[in-house]
């Protein structure tokens, strides 16, 4: 890096300037729609009667586009598996990682003990209420995994059971698919939420199978994020 005005930098800046012009024309000519497009209007009108969920985004993610969400969870699983594979081959010998760390300190250890149950409870609250409030399985799962991250920070040498995490993950994934297949048998199609009664609109036990599916997604996402964090933590010796 002798000169800042190399050919490379000029090329990058030209490219970004062109992109900026494209963005500018896109943004300056943009006027927001006055009303919803047909797909969105259909979701807005029929979510309450067809799905029974207050949160329209949840209805789209879990039921209308449920297959996509199954694919998304699969992609996440694949990511966790590849991260474990890539990092597993460079794993530090047992005992060498973790033991070299300084103790994490009284404040972090005690704080973790106090906060961890609350964080886990909050995560469960977020994914159980996914059909009523902003939130859902992915957000709740991320909160669960943040609790695991706190645990990893407080006790760097600790190993949690890989087996428990992978059991939770595969069981919730299997049940998710099983509920989807039940939708074919008992209701209108794969992942149809009407295999359970829709219940009173706006109550916690409503929207058919959505709370169940979102709880399963929450557990699965939490387990996947935890296994990614754990793979990253176990190699932390360099």
């Amino acid at each position: 890096m002798t000169s800042r005005f190399t050919l490379r930098n000029v090329a990058v800046l030209t490219l970004l300037a062109l992109l900026g012009v494209a963005f500018w024309t896109l943004g300056s000519g943009y006027t927001p729609d006055a009303e919803l497009n047909r797909t969105a209007a259909y979701y807005a009108q029929n979510t309450a009667s067809e799905i029974g969920a207050q949160n329209v985004v949840t209805a789209i993610i879990v039921t209308y586009r449920g297959l996509d969400t199954l694919g998304e969870v699969t992609v996440l699983f694949l990511t966790a598996a590849i991260v474990a594979l890539v990092l597993g081959q460079t794993k530090a010998p047992r005992g060498s990682s973790g033991s070299g760390f300084l103790p994490s300190g009284e404040l972090l250890t005690t704080g973790t003990q106090m906060l961890l149950p609350i964080i886990l409870l909050f995560g469960a609250y977020v994914f159980v209420n996914g059909h009523l409030t902003p939130g859902g399985g992915f957000q709740g799962g991320a909160i669960l995994a943040s609790g695991m991250l706190l645990l990893l920070l407080a006790e760097p040498g600790r190993r949690f059971g890989h087996r428990i995490i992978s059991r939770v993950e595969s069981l919730s994934g299997l049940t998710y698919v099983f509920i989807g297949v039940l939708g074919i048998a008992l209701a209108g199609g794969f992942l149809d939420n009407r295999i359970l009664p829709l219940g009173a609109f706006g109550s916690i036990l409503s929207a058919g199978a959505i709370p169940l599916i979102y709880a399963l997604i929450g557990l699965k996402v939490g387990a996947e994020f935890s296994s990614i964090l754990e793979s990253l933590e176990e190699t932390e010796d360099a």
Partner: protein
């Protein structure tokens, strides 16, 4: 308001791409990519916003029969939720590969990985 969000999103995309293209340290390139990722999310959410409407949650603020006139577009929000999750997966993968490269070659400088250069 949506214009502010959209401009910020476009700016984040440009900043992220600039960082990813000019920096030589792989970790800085990853940070650039995640910045551009956040920018794309911001722009997508801003496109779904309709002035004067409320969030797509059918609570007491939204009468059910007027829902289509009262809520903003829920589809971009669902898309962005998916994009955030996949973006996290991509970031985790990039970091894992960067770690692997560092372990095998003791360097994070992209200029030292010349196998794919032509």
């Amino acid at each position: 308001m949506y214009l502010v969000a959209m401009a910020a999103g476009f700016l984040l995309i440009l900043m992220g791409l600039y960082g990813a293209l000019t920096h030589r340290n792989i970790l800085r390139m990853i940070v650039g990519f995640t910045l551009a990722d956040s920018g794309v999310h911001l722009v997508l959410v801003a496109v779904g916003y309709l002035p004067g409407r409320t969030a797509p949650i059918l609570d007491s603020a939204v009468p059910l029969d007027e829902a289509a006139q009262r809520i903003i577009d829920p589809v971009p929000q669902a898309l962005v939720l998916t994009a955030i999750v996949i973006g996290l997966g991509i970031t985790a993968l990039m970091l894992a590969y960067a770690y692997r490269l560092f372990r095998t070659r003791k360097s994070l400088d992209i200029a030292e990985f010349t196998e794919l250069k032509w």
